[in-house]
Symmetry: C2
Subunit: 382 residues, 2 copies
């Protein structure tokens, strides 16, 4: 039988890995997973981790504390992968696509105890009703609310939101059930500090809770209410205790962006891209490394290449160029000491956006005490 | 035996594909491949296509006109993939990495008739000398020149360039051979029009040819000389006929960036990302589609989300937001006619940078006359 790709590197010191390589610090992953679980416990909330950042069975195992129950996924490919991997209670956190994906959704609903969907239109509800599940199974539906993020979801103040919730709950209770309301406060990513993040989290929570109260008053049963985003869940406000779940995702890895937002300390970031110095160009005072956008992504590039990653332990170095497989580094003060970075030197880049960087890698090398201890293989595609 | 992923879609109309999906127009691929081959033929040059854009056996088959000989690859994973797929004469177009990759390079050199390497340092030459190949095999080496691109390569005006070329050619002729000199004029991507691109191509060609002449004068044999970049090779200048090879890559697909640079006509672009309308948000006059940066990349985003892709056939629509799996579209004039784009409508996005978009997809759906006729599966990793 073929061994999984990369398995010859199990036990190897990190510095021996072929580069570029995505490395994850196991102690930090565990710490981040535990912190978020404890945070939710203190609030009396269930943690339903979003798996889109890592897309791995191992990451989801860690994030669910081994229960393998209660995930959000961003694609049907993820839903199938985690279902096949023994996970259940999987919420497909994307507006229900059109009729062409209904057979896939129905197969997941038949297979799992709880395959759950998000909807934000009466058309999606009608689509579910046209595809009833076998007896004993109902479509489990969350209503997506837009509480200021401005992407998917119904505005909770729009009367259509209440009537859609009522329709989900009551139109065909033997076919479709209203599980809860779901809001993503991605607008926390536009914040400059923790206070601003918490203000968004407070507003989102209040909007969700007001909507749930209005539902209750209208006699509509809506058991669950959840909000998510790593910035808001890393510094939860007390009001969030009135929800039932949280669904952050990025926190398992964290990244440079989360550090800048105050979601984590720099030492909590578990993800790196390891790269080697492959060239010295003294005439332009630059190092070349074997990490380009193919291993890093261009996220953060609206601040120029330096926005895409920090060089761990070398604040005097900054990325000044990124092509497909090449990265160019300069000294901030223009005084690059080439002697400190001989050809072959391994550098660790802290990426701006872990979700985007992880998407570029077929293997993640998980390490403990400097040695590779696990290989994670993410799912991809749709 | 398992069928290759996606094979149930062979024969299906494009509009039925699960989205997001990367589609390639076979007639355009063939046209682009043929045009570039003819262009090189007219110049009397060999075309050595770079495969980093598509990373597929089928794309390389097309680009080599079926010969399966003469490629540039950007990673050792590509080199192994194409070697295993029956290709030969493969040039690894990246500065020779350190000792930890030498066993992989040696295995490729032993397996192939011609596995070729780029170097730009005496250290890399010394590394090759420390890893001699079996009798009858020599390391086949191209000297990388930096003729204004400012990335890898020795400056041709630097005396070190001539002495390195001489060392490659003469230090151990039974172990190492100087095949040629190689320059990438990636600086054409900073140009605003064809005249500027041609000026860069002219300068690069002149610098390469001056260097080759200097080598000849110094008695160093250097049979080959090549330059590449899709902009320069799409509008070659007559001087390029004095080289021996060209090595463009992106031209097989082309993209929005190449259209803007004048490398191709809009109708030559073979790549699209198909996406569906999944939401209507009249209160903010936006459509939501199921294509985010996970299917498109963020290349072009320094111009804002609208820089990342054009919506084919709908110049009045522009991308205004891209998250992992969501794209947001608005009308340029703010007057979005939702009736024209019912939920489920399939839209085709023309990506800014084909190399980056292709890197996000595990399957490419190749179509002819609106139906899927081939599935291409790219290699990834390093």
């Amino acid at each position: 039988m073929d061994r999984p790709p990369g398995s010859m590197w199990l036990g190897a010191p990190l510095e021996q890995l072929p580069t570029p390589a995505l490395s994850l610090d196991r102690a930090k992953l565990r710490h981040n997973a535990e912190q978020m679980r404890e945070r939710c416990q203190r609030l009396g909330l269930r943690l339903r981790p979003h798996v889109k950042t890592h897309k791995t069975l191992e990451g989801a195992e860690l994030a669910t504390g081994g229960s393998r129950r209660g995930l959000v996924v961003s694609t049907l490919a993820e839903a199938r992968f985690f279902a096949a991997g023994g996970f259940d209670d999987i919420l497909y956190g994307f507006p229900l696509p059109g009729p062409e994906r209904m057979e896939e959704c129905a197969a997941l609903a038949r297979r799992l105890e709880a395959f759950q969907l998000l909807i934000d239109t009466p058309q999606a509800l009608a689509l579910l009703r046209r595809h009833p599940l076998p007896p004993g199974k109902r479509w489990l539906v969350w209503l997506k609310l837009d509480c200021g993020n401005g992407r998917a979801g119904v505005l909770p103040t729009d009367p259509a939101a209440l009537s859609l919730a009522r329709a989900i709950a009551e139109d065909a209770p033997e076919e479709v059930a209203l599980v809860g309301v779901y809001a993503h406060c991605g607008n926390t990513y536009g914040c400059r500090d923790i206070a601003a993040v918490q203000s968004v989290a407070r507003d989102t929570t209040a909007a969700v809770l007001r909507f749930v109260a209005a539902l209750r008053q209208a006699g509509v049963d809506c058991p669950q209410a959840t909000i998510g985003s790593t910035p808001s869940c890393s510094h939860p406000v007390p009001e969030m205790a009135q929800l039932t779940e949280l669904h952050p995702g990025n926190y398992l890895f964290y990244d440079l962006q989360q550090t800048l937002l105050g979601s984590c300390r720099p030492e909590d970031v578990a993800i790196r891209v390891l790269t080697r110095v492959v060239g010295h160009y003294p005439h332009r005072r630059q190092l070349l490394v074997d990490c380009g956008w193919a291993a890093l992504s261009l996220h953060g590039y609206d601040q120029g290449p330096a926005g895409c990653a920090a060089v761990e332990g070398h604040p005097q170095l900054r990325l000044v160029g990124l092509t497909q497989e090449h990265g160019q580094l300069e000294a901030v003060d223009g005084q690059l000491d080439f002697g400190r970075f001989p050809l072959g030197t391994v550098l660790a880049l802290v990426p701006f956006h872990a979700c985007a960087t992880a998407a570029m890698h077929p293997i993640y090398y998980v390490h403990a005490e400097g040695k590779v201890v696990e290989l994670w293989h993410p799912v991809r595609g749709w």
